[in-house]
Symmetry: C2
């Protein structure tokens, strides 16, 4: 790995590090791209060469390839739900220390800066199609099959639920919470047959 490569890597990391720090200390909207660039001692242009938008500097790194790998390592015949649970747990769990630390800061940011929570929720809510693209082939079905899409949607839903718990400060670890949610799915859809009491609404 040449000097050029290492320098690029360092610049990218610096930009991200300073950005997250500034967001945490002064807020997301209050921090301009100029501020970030100045803190990392590069020009504004350089910032945009590394991150297409200001939001991107906060986003998760791509975990897709890892998930693919874990999926391939599973024994044939594993039930789909269990397979997905394993894939998510393993791939998130296998992040190295640096990535995990970054994740920590991001989560803390998501809790303290509402705007960042919104960004993470919106941008990182990976599309149903993405999950379906994995589930379809694994079960030998069309990714556009309604049941494949519904299953994928449910997995996403569990993800949303887990994030909601973490953002509300009710759960410490996102990975554990997501795992727990997928575990609950093993017993079917919770509360599906629970009777509603229309009158029980509070003001």
């Amino acid at each position: 790995m040449g000097l050029r490569e290492r320098k690029k890597e360092r610049t990218r990391a610096e930009l991200q590090r300073h950005a997250l720090r500034l967001f945490r200390d002064h807020g997301y909207a209050e921090t301009t791209v100029d501020d970030i660039a100045a803190a990392a001692e590069v020009s504004r242009s350089t910032f945009f060469r590394y991150f297409p938008t200001k939001e991107d500097v906060v986003l998760f790194d791509d975990v897709d390839p890892v998930m693919e790998r874990v999926m391939h390592g599973l024994p044939d015949g594993t039930p789909l739900l269990a397979a997905v649970r394993t894939v998510l747990r393993e791939s998130f769990g296998s992040l190295d220390d640096e990535a995990r630390a970054l994740e920590e800061v991001r989560m803390e940011l998501a809790r303290s800066v509402p705007q960042i929570a919104a960004i993470l929720r919106e941008r990182n809510a990976f599309a149903v199609e993405q999950v379906a693209g994995m589930v379809g082939p694994a079960t030998g079905r069309d990714p556009a099959d309604p049941e494949v899409l519904l299953f994928s949607g449910i997995v996403l839903g569990a993800r949303h639920a887990a994030r909601a718990r973490v953002e509300a400060g009710r759960a410490a670890s996102y990975v554990d919470e997501l795992d727990a949610m997928l575990g609950r799915l093993g017993a079917g859809i919770p509360l599906a047959d629970e009777p509603v009491r229309a009158r029980a609404q509070s003001p």
Copy 2:
């Protein structure tokens, strides 16, 4: 309703109508707020007085109050899943002609302009917390209860799945598709126990 109110209503509708038309004809990014304002014959300032951001001009109108009303009209003891299904079907189904037509344009736009599809997916993916805020009280539980959140997430997931089908051009009516998805949920989580075949991946 005074003249002022009616005028406001008309201005808002005009802005939205022209915006959607311009987006459809020239694309989302290519249409500036100035263009929209000019077409609706108001000033740029006025546009932002009606819609906080350019994106907002595309978004769904708030259906919350309608949903609340339908929910209250349900007989006590209705199973939760059935209740939610009814609420969604009824509240979307009860839109007046104008709203339904607007909806039609929006869906067409979502299909032809990828950027708008993204906006709808992101912004209108109403938060888990919102659904949980309805489900919680109806079942006499804390909206932060993990099972309440998971159930809410699943409903959202079905919504994502339905939208994916519509966007892919595989389903004509969003309302019907969502209803069908929720119907499928009645039989539990589809494909949960389906065996995966890791080798069955295509390149």
